[in-house]
């Protein structure tokens, strides 16, 4: 496991969840309802991303964007320690915004952690289960792209994925598209596509939750009819090999 890839996952897959968290979770929504601030995270060797809070919503952007508060990290490890919940102080200039960092941001991060670190008791709650499944799926498939683009083993697997779009669907749940370009670069988006070259469908939120949390495997669910694939199978086969790496980074 390399720290640059882990930081890319944390920046572009984990932190991204603030956007969905604030729209799905009432507590998170209430935390930001009066916040109007753009926060940019800059991590060496990794890149930058921005969270824009306004009108009770949070929007996630990759790349450079004007920000009211910019947080600089000295290394990928420095940023990873923040996401891992360790006491980490990034470098920033605008001291007037430090309250957001110490208060709202910390509470949002705790809320995200609450949903991404489930217990059996919490999963028994239908609302929690739903949000956990959505956020886990988003995290896993955005993380998959980072591994496929960044890490050596991931790039080896990505190099064997033919060009096209993969549609990932959870019945009665989220759907995502993984696009693979001619250079085997992977990118993900939430939503659907009219022209998938391959499709992977989880039969239910329960199946998606079980597979993505490692409680059950794709093979068993495929044979049981809880999980379905079709189309260009080399896309799915090689993508699944990267998906199996995700868990090692998100442990």
């Amino acid at each position: 496991m390399d720290n640059v890839t882990k930081a890319k996952i944390n920046l572009f897959a984990v932190l991204r969840n603030f956007q969905e968290l604030c729209s799905m979770d009432e507590v998170a929504h209430n935390l930001i309802k009066d916040v109007k601030l753009t926060v940019r995270f800059v991590v060496p060797e990794v890149g930058s991303a921005t969270l824009a809070f306004a009108n009770g919503q949070c929007k996630f952007f990759t790349g450079k964007k004007f920000a009211g508060l910019t947080l600089w990290f000295v290394s990928p490890e420095h940023f990873n320690s923040l996401i891992d919940g360790e006491k980490t102080i990034p470098i920033f200039i605008n001291v007037f915004k430090v309250g957001f960092l110490l208060n709202t941001f910390t509470k949002l991060a705790e809320r995200l952690s609450y949903y991404l670190k489930p217990t059996e008791e919490l999963l028994a709650d239908e609302k929690y289960f739903r949000i956990n499944t959505y956020l886990t799926a988003y995290t896993a498939f955005f993380a998959l792209c980072e591994i496929g683009n960044s890490e050596f083993k991931g790039r080896c697997n990505a190099s064997r994925i033919p060009e096209g779009e993969i549609l990932l669907t959870v019945n009665d749940g989220p759907s995502m598209v993984i696009a693979v370009d001619k250079n085997h670069r992977l990118s993900a988006k939430i939503g659907t596509t009219d022209n998938p070259r391959a499709c992977m469908t989880f039969g239910s939120l329960q199946t998606a939750n079980d597979v993505l949390s490692g409680k059950s495997d794709i093979f068993s669910n495929l044979g049981s009819g809880n999980f379905a694939i079709k189309g260009c199978l080399p896309m799915l086969d090689n993508m699944s090999k990267i998906l199996s790496q995700v868990g090692f980074y998100l442990k």
Binding site: C156, P196, L233
Partner: protein, 421 residues
């Protein structure tokens, strides 16, 4: 309502639910629904009850004309009476014993007499046993470490045969692998030049039969050039004849394509389903084979040797490769006609005895997968990802049944895909 019954798989499903509790993935490997690409699973059986001739029946009582032939071992027809009788007789005499059964020697003699390139034979259990052994012999003989193979080729599941990024494979498992393109002699020359004096062997399937892709036969000069370059550079030429062996020619697929391999690997059709594989080699490599320590608990079991003798004798007598080619050609021309009559362009590639098929203009493969599923539901077992296999028990009636099913299956697909061409 169509002419054919639509299969139901209740018992297969129930048994699979028991399987997943105690077996990883339920059914692992290429015979399982995942690696076997059962798309959708509702169209496919998971467990067999029995088999005979060209058919198998699943646990729900559905019969299938079987064009996968257990992925190759069934060449004479399931439960061939001559092979089964020879195996049963040997089983009565002894099977797994402290010293090998005497049947070992006549089996090796028969194989050497049958396979044109063979001066000796060595037996194991699975194809991967002998592809790995062949590579070890080549390394011992040349004192080199690199293995040249075709891009997209398959030589088993041993770590060296897999790719970096696959589960359980470390970089060091595959760091001595080199790859070249089939039928591209300039690419072959380039790799040899760039690794001069370092390549132990070139291991190749007789023709290129990757999964998911059109299969390709060798160009006229491919093997002539390959043999010459191997000789000039001290590279051992290994034919992985596991899949093709005996289906193209009982004398070996290298003979079929006009070249002489140094080592040739057999398994699948060698004993019509009894568990044995073989490595044949030239005299110059016999001593190196003894330098490599290589053995297994059941490799000397006598029952499959007796089955192998009966199978080879029968294949020789009936010149089986000619029969399989004729059956394959008849079936495939019929399938193309049926497809065309329904407005589909079926592309056939590979050898007639083990053809691969796909639909033209089907970028996603989904339409072909739908058709294959409709065939399986009606009792014709095809797959969408792999080459198929012909066996000698396949009758003209079976072929006609297959074509009728294929026609109804295309019509079912057409109903949902009126605009596909």
């Amino acid at each position: 309502m169509g002419e054919f019954k639509i299969n139901q798989y209740t018992k297969s499903g129930e048994l699979f639910q028991r399987a997943v509790k105690v077996i990883p993935g339920g059914v692992y490997g290429h015979l399982g629904p995942s690696e076997g690409c059962a798309i959708p699973i509702s169209a496919y059986p998971i467990f067999a009850d029995r088999a005979q001739g060209a058919y198998f029946w699943d646990v729900d009582g559905n019969r299938f004309v079987d064009y996968m032939c257990a992925y190759g071992p069934n060449i004479l027809g399931y439960n061939d009476p001559d092979v089964d009788a020879a195996a049963a007789a040997q089983l009565k005499r002894g099977n797994c014993t402290t010293v090998p059964g005497d049947v070992l020697v006549p089996f090796a003699e028969l194989l050497v007499d049958t396979v044109e390139m063979a001066d000796w034979a060595f037996f194991a259990k699975n194809g991967g046993d002998v592809t790995s052994f062949a590579v070890m012999i080549a390394r011992q003989a040349t004192q080199r470490k690199k293995i040249l193979m075709l891009k997209g080729s398959y030589h088993g599941v041993a770590p060296w045969t897999q790719k970096y990024g696959y589960g359980g494979i470390i970089y060091e498992d595959v760091c001595n692998n080199l790859y070249c393109k089939f039928n591209d002699i300039e690419d072959f020359k380039r790799v040899v030049e760039e690794n001069k004096g370092e390549i132990a062997c070139f291991i190749t399937t007789p023709y290129h039969h990757p999964i998911f892709e059109d299969n390709a036969l060798p160009n006229e000069n491919w093997y002539k050039e390959v043999r010459k370059i191997c000789d000039e550079n001290g590279i051992v030429l290994i034919f992985d004849d596991i899949r093709c062996g005996f289906r193209l020619d009982v004398k070996g697929s290298d003979y079929h394509y006009g070249v002489k391999a140094d080592l040739e690997c057999f398994c699948k059709a060698l004993a019509n389903g009894y568990n044995v594989s073989a490595l044949c080699g030239i005299q110059a490599l016999k001593g190196y084979a003894t330098d490599v320590y290589y053995t297994g608990s059941y490799w000397m079991s006598a029952e499959p040797f007796a089955a192998g003798i009966a199978c080879i004798k029968k294949m020789r007598e009936m010149e089986i490769h000619k029969a399989l080619k004729a059956k394959g050609e008849k079936l495939q021309s019929g399938l193309k006609e049926v497809a065309a009559s329904n407005g589909f362009d079926l592309i056939i590639s590979g050898e007639p005895a083990m053809w691969f098929m796909r639909l033209n203009n089907d970028y996603t493969t989904m339409v072909h997968q739908e058709w294959v599923a409709e065939c399986v539901k009606r009792g014709v077992f095809f797959t969408s990802h792999h080459n198929h296999f012909i066996n000698a028990a396949l009758s003209d009636e079976d072929i006609q049944f297959t074509l009728d099913v294929a026609d109804e299956a295309y019509k079912a697909v057409r109903k949902n895909r009126p605009d596909f061409h």
